[in-house]
């Protein structure tokens, strides 16, 4: 629980807003929102998660169960930062397999040693 307990000091806090037109108030509102959202968006641009990577494998034609198993394995090897789909596609290309075949091979325990970007 926060220890913050504060009376309603709206009248003093609003001083700097009082003279703003509605348009200016709206513009300021959205400007501040943008300032709050930007670092969050930047984190999303530069990070991923097991959920995102599983969703990539779903889109590459794997079932949810297969995607989970593949992502768990890649995470154990600390490889997810390269992108699960990227790892899989590169593996397929190197071994002349389809993406599906590469995934199935991994599911059977093969190729894990060469799963490098």
């Amino acid at each position: 629980m926060s220890s913050l307990d504060r009376p309603d000091d709206f009248e003093t806090r609003r001083e700097h807003l009082r003279e703003l037109s509605d348009e200016a108030l709206h513009a300021r509102f959205w400007h501040l929102v943008q300032g709050i959202v930007e670092p969050l968006v930047e984190e999303a641009r530069t990070h991923t998660s097991p959920g995102i990577e599983r969703s990539v494998l779903l889109r590459m034609g794997f079932t949810s169960a297969e995607a989970k198993q593949l992502i768990d394995g890649m995470q154990e090897q600390g490889l997810l930062g390269h992108g699960a789909g990227h790892l899989l596609l590169q593996l397929a290309k190197r071994n002349n397999l389809t993406v599906r075949e590469a995934g199935e091979a991994l599911l059977q325990g093969d190729y894990w040693g060469e799963l490098q970007p």
Partner: protein
């Protein structure tokens, strides 16, 4: 798959060949506003295209059975726990005007780190799986053909498996979804880094699939101690999710703010809620508005709830609204029963049709306290934003308990929800993308080496599932016991045998609701009510609503319980399938023909009420169709009746026979038949009898043309006469 209004939805047909079913479209569909639309006797300002099949509002029978549809989307939320039962409820709701079907997820799905497969049963909603939503979408595709209007299917892209669910929804043609990372953080205690990172991916997928997004701000209304004080924060929550969604690639027209008028009477609702609603629409111009009805102050009294929801809907009409969401009036006392979904939908459509063209009649006064309140709310919200930035950003503000504090911001009570940036479910699961990070799929957010190349990111291997749906892999069932076919065994067997049980939620749940008034003080009355319910055969009776009428004079109770009873359809007595004609049809025949009727209560009989009900315009009787009625009164002889009939050249004779001792009623009817025949009136004049102990079979046996028993209406009598005359004329 094609539905027939006279037949039940065939669940087995829905399940058949499901592995190959593809949704017919992606994306959200709005209703088409038809300006100045003539429907029946009226011209509507705010209506949309009519339905092919529907159940009109009850009063429609007085207005040529019209069923005008408002121009807002109407939402209903469904949560039975079994999708196969949900489907029947969806069909009923669609027939009553719902075109946004929101399927609630089972408790706990937010914390499942992955997709659920198969068709397990849920609690308070269904587990969202590919099979369940594909089956639902398939059924809805058939239902939308039946009613003649597109139906938007909706669920939730929240929890720790958000991006996977978003892919699933994009693939399966789900049209709308809640997506708001703040909901994960505040209400599900899911790690905030994970929630926001995942949300960007989910939103990008939804954006490309045309899925309409609802945010989660309305949850603050529902959880705040005093919901009207959380309003400044609501602007902030809407804004954070909106700005984040735009950054993730959504169009403004795809972003719907989920907004709830925060109070309910006895609070001065409009005075508090309208400034808030207007301030919101001014700050968020260009976005869509999903107006939700209030749940925060719902008690067990469904009528009180309904009145609040009518006022909520009035606020929707006074402001700009795109979707009118409905709450079932029983949500304050149980998981919604299916007929209450319909009740909620009807509250919205009845109110909205009643308010048609409201903006031609009035506008909100802009001078005086209203405008000041609007301004104050915006300023309070802006101050909230300033404090977030001063605190060091969103994460630190949440950590400091700035959200869902019960003070009217900037007032603070110190009781806000506190979450640690490195805590919560799935903490430390966000991973930095390496320099070579890549995701060779469409609808991916953020840095991606495959997005830098020419062509689609998925081109290297022939396309992702979003480009080539044939690549989608379908899992049917994963559990031999907990699946739809197992659950359907009993219902299908019972349907085969023609057994009928009462239900409120799931097939054959046997739940019934009893209303009774007990004339004693509340506690004694409650005990007595429960005891009576037991005597009436209700198992596990439970008071779901008690309203004190007076502390000593008594209370009203609604009691639910279960009955382990069924009826065999084959054993039911046969009933007449004849439906009365519409008022318009009857009048169209009668009025131009100047038809006279003679009527009387015959024999030594002073009863006159029944006959008045059939004849008098005041009682909805046949006078209103243009009949000239000659009511000779009571204790009239058959001779007098027939004298009058000859004198005025009537079309029909109506006799009322109430007394039945020594079979005197049969005697009167036989007398009428015999004497009419002797006078040569038989075949020219319709001979009709009515009374509490009369029925059609008996009257015909006595030589008359028709008989009408207890509960018969003037419309039924007139329908019979007009039908007979039409036949004779043909």
């Amino acid at each position: 798959m094609k539905l027939d209004p006279d037949n039940k939805l065939d669940i087995l047909e829905v399940l058949q060949d499901l592995e190959h079913y593809r949704p017919r479209r992606k994306g959200w569909v709005w209703r088409k506003h038809v300006p100045e639309q003539r429907i029946g006797p009226f011209v509507y300002q705010d209506s949309s295209e009519n339905l092919k099949n529907s159940v009109p509002l009850p009063a429609a029978e007085y207005f040529s059975d019209i069923d005008p549809q408002c121009d807002l989307i109407i939402t209903t939320e469904i949560a039975s726990g079994r999708f196969e039962d949900d489907l029947r409820r969806m069909r009923m709701a669609a027939w009553h005007g719902a075109d946004h079907i929101m399927v609630i997820r089972t408790t706990g799905q937010s914390h499942i780190d992955g997709l659920i497969e198969g068709t397990p049963e849920g609690v308070g909603g269904i587990p969202i799986s590919r099979k369940q939503i594909r089956a639902s979408r398939k059924a809805l595709d058939a239902i939308e053909d039946e009613v003649g209007r597109p139906i938007n299917f909706h669920s939730y892209v929240s929890g720790v498996a958000g991006p996977e669910i978003a892919v699933l929804f994009a693939e399966e043609g789900v049209n709308g979804a809640h997506q708001d990372p703040q909901y994960n953080v505040l209400y599900r205690d899911i790690n905030m880094h994970r929630s926001f990172v995942d949300a960007a991916e989910s939103k990008k997928i939804m954006a490309d699939a045309g899925i309409l997004q609802l945010d989660g701000a309305h949850n603050a209304n529902a959880t705040a101690k005093e919901a009207w004080k959380v309003t400044p924060e609501l602007f902030v929550q809407h804004a954070v999710n909106t700005a984040y969604s735009i950054e993730a690639g959504m169009d403004a027209g795809q972003i719907a703010l989920s907004t709830v008028p925060p109070t309910a009477p006895p609070a001065p609702k409009l005075r508090l809620d309208l400034p808030y609603a207007v301030a919101l629409r001014e700050l968020f111009e260009g976005y869509k508005f999903r107006a939700q009805q209030n749940t925060r102050y719902m008690e067990a009294d469904t009528q009180e709830t309904t009145v609040s929801h009518v006022l909520d809907t009035l606020i929707s009409r006074l402001t700009e609204t795109d979707i009118q969401s409905t709450i079932t009036p029983d949500e304050g006392r149980n998981i919604p029963w299916h007929y209450n979904n319909i009740a909620g939908v009807n509250t919205a459509r009845q109110t909205l049709m009643g308010l048609d063209g409201l903006d031609q009649l009035l506008e909100v006064k802009q001078d005086g306290p209203f405008r000041e309140q609007v301004r104050e709310l915006k300023e309070r919200a802006l101050l909230f934003l300033e404090e977030i930035l001063d605190a060091g950003g969103y994460y630190t503000a949440v950590e400091a308990g700035q959200f869902v504090d019960s003070g009217y911001y900037p007032e603070r009570k110190g009781d806000g929800i506190v979450r640690e940036p490195d805590g919560g479910d799935c903490a430390n699961t966000v991973i930095a993308r390496e320099d070579d990070y890549g995701a060779p799929v469409c609808s991916h957010f953020g840095r991606n080496s495959y997005a830098d190349k020419a062509g689609k990111p998925c081109a290297d291997y022939g396309g992702c599932t979003l480009c080539d749906p044939a690549k989608i892999r379908y899992i049917d069932e994963v559990d031999d016991e907990d699946n739809v076919l197992q659950r359907l065994k009993q219902p299908l067997a019972e349907r085969e045998q023609g057994l009928l049980r009462p239900e409120v939620e799931k097939h054959g749940d046997g739940v019934v609701c009893l209303t009774l008034f007990i004339p004693d003080e509340p506690h004694t009355a409650k005990q007595a009510a429960l005891e009576l319910a037991l005597h009436m055969g209700l198992n596990n009776p439970e008071v779901i609503n008690q309203r004190i009428m007076h502390p000593a004079e008594g209370s009203l109770f609604e009691i639910k319980g279960t009955v382990d009873l069924y009826i065999e359809k084959q054993a039911l007595p046969a009933y007449s399938q004849i439906r009365p004609l519409t008022d318009n049809e009857i009048e169209a025949w009668v009025r131009p023909r100047d038809i006279h009727i003679v009527a009387a209560t015959v024999g030594e009989d002073e009863h006159t009420v029944g006959l008045h009900e059939i004849l008098d315009i005041k009682h909805g009787g046949i006078e209103k169709y243009g009949f000239h009625c000659h009511n000779l009164g009571s204790s009239v002889s058959i001779e007098q009746v027939l004298d009058k009939a000859e004198e005025t050249d009537v079309g029909a004779v109506l006799i009322s026979v109430v007394i039945t001792h020594a079979d005197v009623h049969k005697q009167h009817m036989r007398n009428l038949a015999r004497q009419a025949s002797e006078r040569g009136l038989a075949g020219k004049v319709l001979l009709i009898a009515g009374g509490p102990r009369i029925d059609d079979k008996l009257a015909r046996e006595c030589g008359l043309d028709a008989g009408f028993g207890h509960g018969a209406t003037g419309r039924e009598v007139a329908s019979f006469m007009v039908r007979r005359w039409r036949e004779q004329a043909a």
